[in-house]
C-alpha cells in the first residue's frame, strides 16, 4: 500500500491549519531556545535520563498540566459550539473528534499523569524510602505514558483524530463505520500509555510493601500512601483488561479480525463489557489517590489527626473491591434482563456506603480542629459539597429503572463531572498547592491561588449544574447541535459562560506557577504548613537521596509525633553514612521513542515498518538485560554539605518566625 502523502496532514480546516502552524512555531521556538541557552546537555542529564522519582513526578505533573490545557481547549470548543441553538462553529465531524479527544485526554493524559506524578513525588518520601522499588522501570513508565500521549495528540494534525467517543463503542469504532485511521490512534496510543501505567502499578505495590522505613507498619502508613497502594492494586487488576480490549480492537481494525465487528460473528457487546470492566475501576483509580490527598490536606489544616483512620482504610479497600463488581451500570439499557440489572443496581449503590463513611470522617476530622483557609484547604473544602452532589446523583443513576431516563443524557454528563472534577481536579490542585514547596522549594502564591480557586469553583458549578436540568429535559450527550424549539438555549448559554469562568480560573493557576517561579520567597522552612507526615521531615525541595538518615516511625502521623516529642529531628555527624543510589539511564526514553515510532507505523497500517520498529523494542530489552550498572554511592562529605546548608536556612526561618 503506497503512502498517500496528500492525506497525511489534515487539510482544509482553518482551525486545524492554525494549530499546525502554532505547533510548528512552538516546536521551532523550543528547540531554538534550548539550543541558544545551551541546555541540551543539562536536559538530557538532569531530566531525560533521570530515574529520580521526584523528577519523574514533576515531569508527569508538567505533562498533566499541558494535557489539561489541550483537553480544556477541546472542552471550550464544545461549549462554544453548543452555547446557542444551531451553533455553527464546528461541524458534526469536528465536534465528534473534539469530544472524543477531550474524554481520552482528560482521563488518561490529564488525571492519570497528575495523580501518578504526585504519587511519584510523595510516596517514597512519605514512607521514608530513597526511591521507588524499580527506578528505571519508573522512568520507562513515564516515558511510555508521555510517548502515548504525544502520539495521541498529533492525531488532529497528522492522520486524523479518533471520532467514536472515549468509550469507542463498536461497531461504530470498527472499520465498517470508521474506515479512516483516526480510531487507530485510540487503539495504539492508549495501549502504549496503558503499558506504562501497568508498570507503575506494579512498581508502587512493591515500593509500598517492601520499602517502608523501620516502624511504619501498614496501619501506620499515611492515608495518601494507603490510597495510592490500593489504587496500584486496582491498576494491576484492571489495566490488563484494557490491554486486551485495545489489542483486540487493533486486530479488528488493522488485521481484519472479527471480535467486535458487525460481520463475521463479532459481538459488539463484548467490547462494551471489556471496556467497562476496565473503565469503572479506572474511575476509582483516579479518585482514590485524590481521596488520600484530601485526607492529608484536611488533617494538616485542621491540625488534627485523621478521624477514623481504620474505617478510612476499610472503606478504601471496600471501594476497591466493589469497583470491580459494578461495570454493568454503564449499560443497564442494553436489555440484559431484570435480574442482572437488579444485582448491579445493588452493588453500585453499595459503593455509596464506604464513600459516605469517608465523607463523615473528613467532616469529623475538622470538628474540634482549627481550620485554616489556605488555598489547599479551600480546594478540600469545596470538594465536600460538590462531591456530595456527584455522589447522590450517582446513586440516582445506580437505580437501574431510573437510569433508563438518565442514561446518555446531560444528566449523566453532569454526574460524572461532579465526581471527577471535585474528586480529581480539586484534589490535584489541593495537592499541588500543598506539596509545591516540597517539589520546588517555594510556595505558590496564596492570593493568586484564591483567585484561581473562586473562578474555578464557581465556573465549574455554573457549567455543570445546568446540565442536570437539561438532561432531565431530554438533552442528550455528544450531540453537536440542537434546535431552538428544544428550549435548551438559555441553560446551555449559562453553562458555556461557566466554562469560560472556569477557564479563567485555570489561567490563574498557570500565571501563579509562572509568578511564583520568578518571585516567590526561597527562604522558607522545610515544613511550611506545620505538617504531619514524613515527607516534611527532610529539606524542601528534598535532596535527591531524600533522607540523610532514615527516620524511625513510632506512631501514625510520624513527623508530628517527632516534632511533639522532639525525637529524631536532629542529625548527628556520625550518623551520616554513604548512600547507595541508582544511576541515570537513557534507555527508558529511547525505548519509549521506539515504542512511539512503532506505534505510529502501526496506526498508519504500515505493518512491515511497524514490525521492524518493534524489533527495536526487543533490542532495548536485550540491552537492559545485560546492564549490570549497580548505581553509585553518595560520599559522606557531599551529604554533610547538603544537610548543613538546608538545616541552616531552616533554623533561621524558624527562629525568625518565633
Amino acid at each position: 500500500m503506497g503512502i498517500k502523502w496528500d492525506k497525511f496532514f489534515i487539510t482544509g480546516d482553518p482551525l486545524i491549519l492554525g494549530s499546525q502552524i502554532a505547533i510548528l512555531l512552538t516546536m521551532i521556538g523550543i528547540v531554538a531556545l534550548v539550543t541558544y541557552l545551551k541546555k541540551w546537555k543539562w536536559l538530557w542529564r538532569e531530566w531525560f535520563t533521570t530515574v529520580d522519582h521526584k523528577r519523574i513526578g514533576i515531569m508527569y505533573i508538567l505533562m498533566g498540566v499541558l494535557m489539561f490545557f489541550r483537553g480544556g481547549v477541546d472542552g471550550l470548543l464544545m461549549k462554544a459550539q453548543t452555547a446557542t441553538a444551531d451553533g455553527k462553529l464546528l461541524d458534526a465531524q469536528h465536534y465528534n473528534e473534539v469530544f472524543t479527544t477531550h474524554g481520552v485526554i482528560m482521563i488518561l493524559f490529564m488525571a492519570m499523569p497528575l495523580l501518578i506524578g504526585i504519587m511519584n513525588v510523595i510516596i517514597p518520601l512519605q514512607i521514608g524510602a530513597r526511591d521507588v522499588a524499580f527506578p528505571q522501570l519508573n522512568a520507562l513508565s513515564f516515558w511510555l505514558t508521555f510517548s502515548g500521549a504525544m502520539l495521541f495528540n498529533i492525531s488532529f494534525v497528522i492522520g486524523g483524530s479518533p471520532d467514536a467517543g472515549w468509550t469507542a463503542y463498536f461497531p461504530l469504532a470498527g472499520k465498517e463505520f470508521t474506515p479512516g485511521i483516526g480510531n487507530n490512534f485510540y487503539a495504539v496510543a492508549i495501549q502504549i500509555a496503558g503499558i506504562g501505567t501497568l508498570m507503575t502499578g506494579i512498581n508502587f505495590i512493591v515500593t509500598v510493601l517492601k520499602m517502608r522505613v523501620k516502624g511504619m507498619t501498614l496501619m501506620k502508613m499515611p492515608m495518601f500512601t494507603w490510597t495510592s497502594f490500593i489504587t496500584s492494586i486496582i491498576i494491576v487488576a484492571s489495566f490488563p483488561i484494557l490491554t486486551v480490549a485495545l489489542a483486540l480492537m487493533t486486530f479488528d481494525r488493522i488485521f481484519g479480525t472479527h471480535f467486535f465487528t458487525l460481520g463475521g460473528g463479532g459481538l459488539d457487546m463484548m467490547w462494551v463489557n471489556l471496556f467497562w470492566l476496565w473503565g469503572h475501576p479506572e474511575v476509582y483509580i483516579v479518585v482514590l489517590p485524590a481521596f488520600g490527598m484530601f485526607s492529608e490536606v484536611i488533617s494538616t489544616f485542621s491540625r488534627k489527626m485523621l478521624f477514623g483512620y481504620k474505617s478510612m482504610v476499610f472503606s478504601i479497600v471496600g471501594i476497591a473491591f466493589l469497583s470491580m463488581l459494578v461495570w454493568v451500570h454503564h449499560f443497564f439499557t442494553m436489555g440484559a434482563g431484570p435480574a442482572v440489572n437488579s444485582i448491579f443496581s445493588i452493588t453500585t449503590m453499595m459503593i455509596a456506603i464506604p464513600t459516605g463513611v469517608k465523607i463523615f470522617n473528613w467532616l469529623f476530622t475538622m470538628r474540634k480542629g482549627r481550620i485554616q483557609f489556605t488555598t489547599a484547604m479551600l480546594w478540600a473544602l469545596a470538594f465536600v459539597p460538590c462531591f456530595i452532589i456527584g455522589g447522590t446523583t450517582g446513586v440516582m443513576l445506580a437505580m437501574g429503572a431510573a437510569d433508563y431516563q438518565y442514561h446518555n443524557s446531560l444528566f449523566l454528563v453532569a454526574h460524572f463531572h461532579y465526581v471527577l472534577i471535585p474528586g480529581v481536579v480539586f484534589a490535584v490542585f489541593a495537592g499541588l498547592y500543598y506539596w509545591w514547596p516540597k517539589m520546588f522549594g517555594h510556595m505558590l502564591n496564596e492570593k493568586l491561588g484564591k483567585l484561581h480557586f473562586w473562578f474555578f469553583v464557581i465556573g465549574f458549578n455554573m457549567t455543570f449544574l445546568p446540565m442536570f436540568f437539561l438532561g432531565l429535559d431530554g438533552a442528550v450527550r455528544r450531540s453537536y447541535t440542537y434546535s431552538a424549539e428544544t428550549g435548551f438555549g438559555p441553560l446551555m448559554l449559562v453553562s458555556a459562560i461557566g466554562a469560560g469562568i472556569l477557564a479563567i480560573g485555570f489561567g490563574f493557576l498557570c500565571y501563579n506557577i509562572y509568578w511564583s517561579a520568578r518571585y516567590a520567597d526561597r527562604n522558607i522552612s522545610s515544613d511550611p504548613w506545620d505538617a504531619r507526615t514524613l515527607e516534611w521531615a527532610t529539606a524542601s525541595p528534598a535532596p535527591f537521596y531524600n533522607f540523610a538518615k532514615l527516620p524511625e516511625v513510632k506512631s501514625l502521623d510520624a513527623f508530628w509525633y517527632m516534632k511533639k516529642n522532639n525525637d529524631g529531628l536532629e542529625l548527628r555527624e556520625n550518623e551520616i553514612k554513604e548512600i547507595h543510589m541508582p544511576s541515570n539511564s537513557g534507555l527508558p526514553i529511547i525505548m519509549a521513542i521506539v515504542f512511539g515510532i512503532a506505534g505510529f507505523f502501526l496506526i498508519f497500517e504500515w505493518k512491515i515498518a511497524a514490525l521492524v520498529a518493534a524489533l527495536g523494542i526487543i533490542a532495548g530489552l536485550i540491552v537492559r538485560s545485560f546492564d549490570y550498572n549497580d548505581g553509585f554511592h553518595v560520599p559522606v562529605d557531599e551529604i554533610k554539605a547538603t544537610e548543613k546548608a538546608w538545616r541552616k536556612v531552616d533554623k533561621e526561618v524558624k527562629d525568625h518566625v518565633s
Binding site: 487488576a237 472479527h258 471480535f259 460473528g265
Partner: protein
C-alpha cells in the same frame, strides 16, 4: 542496598533488590493471569460464532496437540530441574537442563506454528470468523510468550556463562523459571478449555 547479603537465604533471595524483583515479578504474573483470563473469556463467548466457517471439530486434531502438550509439560519439569541444580550451586547442571528446556520449548513453538499453517491452508484464518479470531489471538498470545521466554532465557544463560552464579544471575534464572511454569499452567487451561472441550462438543 546490594551490599547487604543475607547468606542464610537461597542465592536468588539474598539481596533486598532481588527480593523486590521477585515480588514484582509475582505481581506481574498476577497481571498476566488477568490478561489471559480476559482472553479466555473472550474465547468462551465467541467460540460458537462460526459465521459459516469451520468449527472446532472440523479443525482440531488430537495428535499434534498432545505432542505439543507433552513437550511443554516436560519442559516445565526440566526447568524445575534446572532451578534445582542452581540451588545446589551446579552451574553446569543448570545450563544443561535449561538448554533442554528451551529445546523442548522450541519444539512446542515449531509444532504450534505448523498447526497454524495447516489451519490457514484449510482456509481457516483469523479473519474467517469470531471463533477463529479469538482462537488465534489466545493461542498466538501464549505462543508469543513462549517464544519471548526462549529469547529471554538465552540472554540470561549467556550472562550466567559470563558471570557465573551470582545473586543477580541466580535471580534472573529463578524468574525465568517462574515465567516458564506460568506459561505451562496457561497451556493446561488452553488444552482443556480450547482443545478438549472443542473436540468433545
Amino acid at each position: 542496598m546490594s551490599a547487604n547479603l543475607n547468606t542464610a537465604l537461597p542465592l536468588e533471595y539474598q539481596t533486598e533488590q532481588n527480593r523486590m524483583n521477585i515480588l514484582g515479578f509475582w505481581i506481574f504474573l498476577g497481571a498476566e493471569i488477568i490478561l489471559f483470563a480476559t482472553l479466555f473469556a473472550t474465547y468462551s463467548v465467541l467460540s460458537t460464532r462460526f459465521a459459516g466457517g469451520p468449527t472446532q471439530n472440523d479443525l482440531f486434531e488430537i495428535k499434534g496437540v498432545m505432542t505439543e502438550t507433552i513437550l511443554l509439560l516436560t519442559s516445565s519439569f526440566t526447568c524445575g530441574l534446572a532451578i534445582y541444580e542452581m540451588h545446589r550451586g551446579n552451574k553446569k547442571g543448570l545450563l544443561t537442563w535449561m538448554i533442554i528446556t528451551l529445546l523442548l520449548g522450541a519444539g512446542f513453538v515449531g509444532l504450534e506454528i505448523n498447526e497454524f499453517i495447516t489451519y490457514v491452508h484449510e482456509g481457516a484464518t483469523m479473519q474467517t470468523s469470531a471463533f477463529l479470531s479469538s482462537f488465534f489471538v489466545l493461542l498466538g498470545t501464549h505462543g508469543l510468550h513462549v517464544s519471548m521466554g526462549i529469547g529471554w532465557a538465552v540472554m540470561v544463560m549467556i550472562q550466567i556463562v559470563k558471570r557465573g552464579l551470582t545473586p543477580v544471575t541466580a535471580r534472573k534464572a529463578f524468574i525465568i523459571g517462574l515465567y516458564w511454569h506460568f506459561l505451562d499452567v496457561v497451556w493446561i487451561f488452553i488444552f482443556t478449555f480450547v482443545y478438549l472441550k472443542g473436540m468433545v462438543s
